[in-house]
């Protein structure tokens, strides 16, 4: 048996701008980052997928709306349905919502402005492969950088989300208290990250990829990227 690094496909749309950062983070966590172009109809043999942040197709129409219908997303859907791990960050989460791989939708931030801010996050699930390196109740600190991160779901959808425990991360205080004062964008139930029922798809608004290298700040992003690499 030969040693190999897991191949993680980093999807590149026109307008992706955290793709290079995501690739470096994957490499730092021991994976082999493979750029996958949006027009590609197959995933080039990767075993895990990362959809990075940015403004795919310039966020025209709605953030993530056009990317959700790109050729590569057909392949990502097939990969996810077969149980393959998928991590979507920021615009990546918006795309996963638009593609129906995660529940709910994104609205513009309550302030209607772009917000870049260090936020605290409370881990709500630790029993899925992509959250396996975290503990429930643990408080993390990561930056958010978005204009449309106000997650919303109609009551019947939200009930299902709660019943199936799909909320992965919530905005909170440094002490882990969830309250409106610590909700930066108005997201319903302070949702900052979501998983699917099977646990192989995770989407999050905060940016773990820029907090993997401890040199750039406390490496609270590492558990997310490292988990993706390990389970792929």
């Amino acid at each position: 048996m030969t040693w190999r690094r897991p191949k993680i496909g980093v999807v590149r749309f026109p307008g992706s701008n955290r793709d290079a950062d995501a690739m470096r983070a994957v490499e730092l966590c021991g994976g082999e980052a493979v750029p996958v172009w949006h027009e590609s109809e197959d995933l080039l043999g990767v075993t895990g997928v990362l959809i990075p942040g940015g403004f795919s197709y310039g966020d025209y129409l709605r953030a993530g709306a056009m990317a959700a219908h790109s050729p590569v997303m057909k392949a990502v859907r097939k990969h996810a349905e077969a149980g393959g791990p998928v991590l979507g960050i920021c615009n990546g989460l918006q795309i996963l919502l638009e593609a129906g791989l995660l529940p709910g939708a994104m609205l513009p931030n309550r302030s209607l402005r772009f917000i870049h801010k260090e936020v605290f996050l409370r881990v709500e699930r630790d029993d899925t492969p992509l959250l396996g390196k975290l503990r429930c109740g643990q408080v993390l600190r990561l930056p958010i950088a978005h204009k449309e991160g106000n997650w919303f779901a109609p009551p019947e959808v939200f009930q299902e989300v709660e019943r199936q425990r799909l909320i992965a991360l919530r905005y909170c205080s440094a002490e882990g208290e969830v309250a409106e004062a610590y909700n930066p964008n108005g997201a319903l139930a302070a949702v900052a990250g979501l998983t699917n029922r099977e646990g192989n798809v995770l989407g999050m608004m905060p940016h773990p990829e820029c907090r993997v290298d401890p040199f750039l700040g406390e490496p609270f992003g590492k558990p997310f990227i490292a988990a993706l690499v390990e389970v792929s």
Binding site: P14, F114, H116, A145, K147
Partner: protein, 730 residues
């Protein structure tokens, strides 16, 4: 109304902003009467904005060479060696006039333009900074302008994916009719992979790349070379519209084309669009161009050669390539979803010839347009030397209240409401962003730290443009020192009123001298820059605002710099114990005294102190902030984040000068007690005094056992957010 190919006459020249003398000069240079399109081209290239006709004779006084300089002024941006085969490519540019007319698009396209100047050189942009000046916030329109400019900068930079990591925001009634938006971009490139705007090789193709050409921005360059009156609003159609998504595609496509060796020369279509890119590339390359304007992609029906040549539609590039590479270039551009087409070729001789629908549109010699543009030695009157003000009596003064007023002002409060709208972490290389002293990023794949700052105290420049400009340079030096960086180059954005006013011209001349003298004294070359004149409305000029953008290097970053106190830190004052109150923000903002002498920098003292601070920061021993706007008390407040501080003023010292004095190589250092010996030993030979300790939950200053200032952390945080709170009330 005249057609594009009708002959022009004096009245048309005047309409285009040329003087009667310039019209005569044009006729002599050309040896015939131009048609309207040719006149438009002359007027654009001879505008103040493109030709620097009033400033050029003075700009020659700036030092532009040095061992690190790879490219000085004259290209799209300057480039300096930062080690390990890398160069930093940077420039600052103004977008003042458009931003006043249409703040969102004006500011956004300012960012777009400066990004293109940098990636055109083959450099990947790694950070943006913005130096902004606004008028009184009590004017409703001014709040709209601040909001629009900040959104425009944010939406453009955020989408393109370049972090905005620094800059300044300040306010003065002198900007009520002319706001300033100066955008700076810093990029990195391999030293042997720089690209230039020099058209070369007869037979090579001229490729148009990017957005289609529309009617937006026609006359942008001439508009930016004129003053405003009450009809400024009517100039809205001359403002361009930005599309950051296309810009992002352009960056990736251009860098890929360059990486693959497919580019001979490249230039963005900025001010004066196709006109300036074509003529400047031909001028620098010493060749001619033959263009077919019918092939330019258009987004509007029936555009004439006049409009095609003068449109300032954004996100467009012109490049020169070998004929055999054209198909590959098209394939790459197509993959990025960009329009690219072949619109002409490089030819022998020194003429630009353009055809349209098979007929000759114009034939113009390059030399008189670019090289022989008018140069003026405008009459100037140097500003009078300011006289010192008599200081008021400070006995019994409530300094807590004074500090409250300073912190609650938009001038000296937190700028968080602004920079929170800017992406600061994209690129995953940010070591220090806004809210600190200077921006610091890692050059990708290395441990080289690249730092940048913009500085200008325009209030000081209004009192003494020479000393004010020189002080801006040393302040930039101090800011870089606080992140451990050594300066390697300067870019400047010189914002002034009308050069036709001898007093304004005098301010300009003095400021350029101050800038040049300071850069020479510190051994830092000026490698790029921009002059923005005619920032005046109905005869009211702005404060002289020579913005200094300084770039520095940390050869090998060991520690991420910090700027706030930690529990138990000792706080030391490095440099003179007191500052001068003359020309201070304290006298200006609290006492309404807008006069005083601005001292000339003590260059030797500044160099020594900066070198010391730089090494302490590099070793991770101290958190450092320099004492500038607002004085020590304001800087101390900025350092209080999670923990309070207690500072004692030495008994024999005037509290006001200690707390609010400015100027000179003064820094506040904070460090754990265990480093005290090391820091004190390193500081030998430089005035160094431990003044306090980080503790408790308030900022406390005592003098002779008397508590002069007591402000709780909660109140401090609240006060510092006051000034720009309106930005968060939608």
């Amino acid at each position: 109304m005249k057609r594009w190919d009708d002959g022009a006459e004096l009245a048309d020249a005047l309409d285009h902003g040329l003087s009667p003398q310039e019209w005569e000069r044009l006729l002599t240079a050309l040896g015939r009467t131009p048609n309207l399109t040719e006149l438009g081209i002359f007027a654009a290239l001879w505008s103040e904005h493109c030709s620097y006709k009033s400033s050029r004779v003075h700009l020659t006084n700036l030092p532009t060479s040095g061992p690190r300089v790879v490219q000085g002024p004259g290209e799209n941006a300057g480039a300096v060696d930062i080690g390990e085969g890398w160069v930093a490519v940077f420039k600052v540019e103004s977008h003042n006039h458009p931003s006043f007319i249409e703040p969102y698009q004006g500011a956004a396209t300012g960012v777009g333009g400066i990004l293109r100047d940098v990636f055109t050189m083959g450099a990947r942009p790694v950070m943006l900074l913005d130096s902004l000046r606004f008028g009184e916030l009590s004017l409703p329109r001014m709040r709209y302008l601040v909001d629009g400019v900040v959104r425009g900068i944010g939406d453009y930079g955020n989408c393109v994916g370049v972090p905005t990591l620094g800059g300044e925001v300040d306010f003065d009634p002198a900007y009520n009719g002319n706001i300033l938006v100066n955008a700076m971009c810093v990029g990195v490139a391999r030293k042997d992979k720089l690209f230039f705007a020099r058209a070369q090789g007869a037979g090579n193709r001229v490729i148009y790349l990017g957005s289609k050409t529309g009617r937006d921005g026609i006359h942008g360059a001439t508009m930016a070379s004129d003053t405003f009156d009450e009809t400024a609003e009517q100039k809205r159609p001359t403002v361009q519209v930005g599309d950051p998504f296309t810009e992002k595609l352009l960056i990736e496509a251009c860098l890929e084309l360059m990486e693959k060796g497919l580019v001979v020369a490249i230039q963005d279509m900025g001010a004066a669009g196709l006109t300036s890119s074509a003529f400047e590339m031909a001028a620098r390359g010493g060749c001619g161009l033959e263009l077919d304007l019918s092939r330019v992609p258009v987004r509007a029906e029936g555009m004439t050669p006049y409009e095609l040549m003068l449109s300032e539609s954004q996100e467009r590039m012109l490049l020169v390539a070998r004929p055999q590479d054209v198909q590959e270039i098209f394939a790459i551009c197509h993959r990025w979803g960009l329009d690219a087409c072949d619109i002409g070729e490089v030819v022998e001789g020194r003429e630009v010839v353009a055809y349209w629908k098979g007929e000759l549109a114009f034939r113009l010699p390059v030399a008189p347009l670019v090289d022989a543009a008018p140069r003026y030695e405008r009459p100037f009157q140097l500003p009078p030397s300011p006289s010192a003000v008599t200081l008021p009596s400070f006995s019994g003064r409530n300094f807590s209240e004074d500090l409250r007023r300073l912190l609650a002002s938009p001038h000296l409060g937190s700028k968080r409401a602004v920079y929170q709208q800017y992406d600061q972490t994209v690129g995953a290389a940010t070591l220090a962003g806004p809210g600190g002293e200077a921006a610091l990023v890692l050059v990708p794949g290395t441990r080289i730290g690249l730092a940048a700052t913009t500085d200008c105290n325009a209030f000081a420049c209004s009192l003494d443009p020479y000393a004010g400009a020189a002080q801006a340079v040393v302040e930039a030096l101090r800011n870089l020192a606080c992140v451990g960086a050594e300066p390697v180059g300067v870019t400047d954005c010189l914002n002034f009123g009308s050069p036709e006013n001898p007093q304004v011209m005098g301010q300009f001349v003095a400021a350029v001298q101050g800038l040049g003298d300071a850069c020479r004294a510190l051994g830092v070359p000026v490698v790029s820059g921009n002059v923005s004149f005619y920032n005046e409305t109905s005869g009211q000029a702005i404060l002289p605002t020579p913005t200094v953008g300084m770039v520095g290097v940390v050869p090998w970053v060991l520690h991420r710099p910090r700027f706030t106190l930690r529990d138990g830190d000792l706080v030391a004052l490095l440099g003179p114990v007191v500052g001068q109150l003359n020309g201070s923000r304290y006298l200006q903002l609290v006492w309404d005294i807008k006069a005083g002498v601005i001292p000339h920098p003590d260059y030797q003292g500044e160099k020594t102190a900066a070198e010391l601070v730089r090494s302490l920061v590099r070793l991770g021993l101290v958190a450092a902030r320099d004492i500038s706007d607002g004085g020590l008390a304001v800087i101390l407040a900025e350092m209080c984040d999670e923990i309070g501080v207690r500072v004692s003023i030495p008994g024999d010292v005037s509290p006001a000068s200690f707390l609010f004095g400015e100027w000179g190589p003064r820094y506040l250092l904070a460090f754990p007690e265990r480093f005290q010996e090391a820091v004190a030993a390193a500081a030998e030979g430089v005035p160094f005094l431990i003044v306090g300790r980080a503790e408790g939950d308030a900022l406390v200053v005592v003098h002779d056992d008397e508590e002069l200032i007591w402000l709780s952390l909660v109140e401090l945080a609240h006060l510092r957010e006051q000034g720009l709170r309106f930005l968060e009330e939608t």
